[in-house]
């Protein structure tokens, strides 16, 4: 059992506020990803949890136990550094057994657990090699094993894949995920790569500018972005956001996008929320993947092709009208001629509304 609960956790470096009143609950055995652009405060959060730095304000609780003032050595957290910080002057075995030896465990016990861990990580044959000059995925295993072997309640990983080449990342990701399942440990995983977050995390905490933006499962943050930042940050390319005004016409509600055209909204909680909001300036959001082109169907949004990006299996079509741009992801067979105006049909149930002023999603609690 290990839950982490961060309560109004803040960290200032002088006048700069690296983290502002973060509230975050991590469940037991949960794989929580801290996602955000660099400087969003995720690493700060991690270091606070690890105990590497002191909090300026707020509390850190492990299983309800306040550890805010506990020295990092005694918090019992496992840590995997960006570069793994392997003790390259030691053998693999000594790396794995380090934590146990520090805890003065009996030799036999140490050996038992080391060999167990080695089997688990398939490091058996390497045990007595010097840790220097091993391949990254081995190093990652050692790094994880070294921390896991002391059975920490919590496991922190600081962008472990950031200095691994792309081709290798896929393998590492799956390996990491499976390890996490085996250890059944609570993990906090810091990354700026949403792909990693999406594929591995149970839940994602999206952060920006030291403020938590949204917490949720990968799908939640993808489908129900709480604000324009999350909408734009998650997904590649991010969600299209078109400025417009709400209008009402014959009981039906829609968004007036000016030169582009008018987009009617299907009745539902969004429309309801929109009504409640009154005829305000809004942003209409829909994902590039959720657009169909249908000349036959009327009431389409008209935008001209400005640029075509062909990325193998798919095509990203850039369109614009006036000052507004939209990206559309199509199958790679898609034929588009520059300058040609296309009739766009965002998938009705996938459209989202955001308050232009606050940037918050409309109709999402």
């Amino acid at each position: 059992m290990a839950t982490i609960s961060l309560q109004r956790l803040s960290k200032h470096f002088g006048t700069f506020s690296a983290l502002h009143e973060l509230d975050l609950q991590v469940r037991d055995q949960e794989f929580m990803a801290l996602l955000g652009p660099s400087g969003c405060g995720k690493s700060t959060t991690m270091n606070l949890v690890a105990g590497g730095i002191d909090a300026s304000a707020g509390k850190i609780l492990f299983d309800g136990r306040d550890v805010t003032d506990v020295a990092m050595g005694r918090r019992g957290v496992g840590f995997v550094f960006q570069n793994y910080a392997i003790f390259t002057h030691m053998s693999v075995r000594d790396n794995l057994s380090f934590g146990l030896r520090m805890r003065r465990l009996h030799r036999t016990e140490v050996d038992r657990r080391v060999s167990a861990m080695a089997d688990l990580l398939q490091l058996g044959p390497l045990l007595d090699q010097r840790a220097s000059g091993l391949s990254v995925n081995i190093l990652q295993r050692i790094a994880i094993g070294r921390s896991a072997i002391v059975e920490p309640a919590i496991f922190l990983l600081d962008e472990p894949l950031s200095n691994v080449d792309a081709a290798f990342r896929a393998i590492m990701r799956t390996e990491l995920k499976s390890l996490q399942r085996q250890f059944k440990q609570t993990m906090i995983y810091v990354t700026h790569d949403q792909l990693e977050a999406m594929t591995m995390a149970d839940r994602i905490a999206v952060m920006d500018g030291g403020v938590l933006q949204q917490v949720g499962t990968p799908l939640e943050v993808y489908n129900e972005p709480r604000n324009v930042f999350v909408a734009g940050f998650i997904g590649s390319p991010g969600m299209n956001l078109l400025e417009g005004r709400l209008y009402e016409e014959g009981g039906a509600i829609g968004v007036d996008l000016g030169v582009i055209g008018r987009q009617r909204l299907t009745e539902g909680k969004q429309a309801a929320a929109a009504r409640r909001a009154g005829l305000a300036d809004v942003l209409l959001g829909f994902r590039p993947e959720d657009i169909t082109v249908d000349a036959g169907n009327p009431g389409a949004l008209k935008m001209a092709v400005s640029f075509v990006e062909r990325i193998g299996h798919r095509v990203v079509v850039h369109l614009d009208a006036g000052a507004q741009q939209v990206k559309m992801v199509a199958r790679n067979g898609f034929a588009a001629t520059l300058g040609a105006a296309l009739p766009l049909h965002p998938q009705a149930d996938r459209m989202r509304l955001f308050d232009k002023a606050s940037g918050l999603a409309i109709g999402v609690e």
């Binding site: 690890a50 496992g78 550094f81 910080a85 003790f87 380090f98 805890r103 070294r146």
Partner: protein, 311 residues
């Protein structure tokens, strides 16, 4: 910071240039050094080998080339192997080594550890702590000669600390004199250890220390398992350098005590100096020199090679 020792020379820069040309160039470049080396090695070797079989001394008033007239077979060699005072000086030199090198190492390491992390005045203190090793050794000798007078500062400080009138005659008592010269050496050369080891410490990756801490390692455990292993090579180098220098120790010591009282602070170099300049037994000294040369070649050089190879 990285470490390297005697390493095999690197392959030539430009491959397309002919080997012959490269060889010629390399030869030309190294020639001056080679000549100097030959100049200082060849003649001395031959000359010392020659007179080492004779009884020749400048006191006989004839040039060394006539030394064969004083041929005495292996007497000098026997003397080298049996002369109690020579061996006394050798043993004494090693005693100084065994006391000073570890002391300097530990003190140096200790001070270096104090200098990890940041604190006010770090740079300033650092510079001051380096000063002793920059004082000309001969000058340091005169300095400590004054300091260790029975009416001098050292006793004054001891008196102040103990509260009783201390009047130790440091340089007049066999063992105390030896202690005094050791203290002088430690004073002057601990800074070197400090300098080197601090450089080493700064080279230990921060995240590894952090990792060790996370894994529950305390101060000492970190020192033992992370820091020391990581600076081991540096330690070896530092120790090697001091060992070599103490093996040759002369200036400070000679000025403080000229090897006295009696022979109680006589080290190899001091002994050789006395036999050379005061007793003028030059053929005997030549034999000692050859003896040292043989021993060094047999011990030191292989050690260096091994150290160089194990990188």
């Amino acid at each position: 910071m990285s470490v390297e020792a005697v390493k095999a020379p690197i392959a030539p820069v430009v491959v397309q240039a002919g080997d012959a040309e490269i060889r010629r160039l390399g030869l030309r470049l190294t020639l001056p050094a080679q000549l100097l080396l030959a100049f200082i090695v060849l003649f001395p070797l031959v000359m010392e080998l020659y007179i080492s079989f004779t009884d020749w001394t400048p006191l006989v008033g004839k040039n060394w080339v006539w030394a064969y007239r004083y041929w005495n077979d292996f007497d000098n060699y026997v003397e080298v192997l049996t002369n109690a005072r020579l061996w006394g000086s050798i043993v004494r030199t090693f005693v100084v080594m065994i006391v000073c090198v570890p002391t300097e190492l530990l003190l140096g390491l200790g001070i270096a550890l104090l200098f990890t992390g940041d604190f006010f005045g770090k740079r300033f203190f650092y510079s001051i702590l380096l000063m002793p090793m920059m004082v000309v050794p001969a000058v340091a000798g005169y300095m400590f000669f004054m300091l260790f007078q029975s009416g001098g500062p050292v006793n004054a400080i001891l008196s102040a600390l103990t509260g009783s009138q201390v009047a130790i005659a440091w340089l007049s008592h066999a063992n105390l004199a030896l202690a005094a010269v050791m203290i002088a050496d430690i004073w002057q050369w601990t800074p070197l250890m400090f300098l080197i080891l601090l450089a080493g410490l700064l080279g230990v990756p921060e995240d590894q220390l952090q990792m060790a801490t996370l894994l529950g390692a305390g101060r000492w455990a970190r020192l033992r398992h992370i820091v020391l292993p990581r600076i081991s090579r540096i330690l070896v180098i530092a120790v090697a350098i001091r060992t070599i220098e103490i093996f040759k120790i002369f200036d400070t010591l000679y000025i403080m005590t000229s090897g006295g009282p009696g022979d109680s602070t006589e080290t190899i170099s001091v002994y050789i100096y006395k036999v050379t300049m005061q007793d003028l037994e030059w053929s005997y000294v030549a034999t000692i020199a050859l003896f040292i040369l043989v021993v060094l070649s047999a011990v030191a050089i292989p050690a260096i090679k091994r150290f160089g190879a194990a990188r």
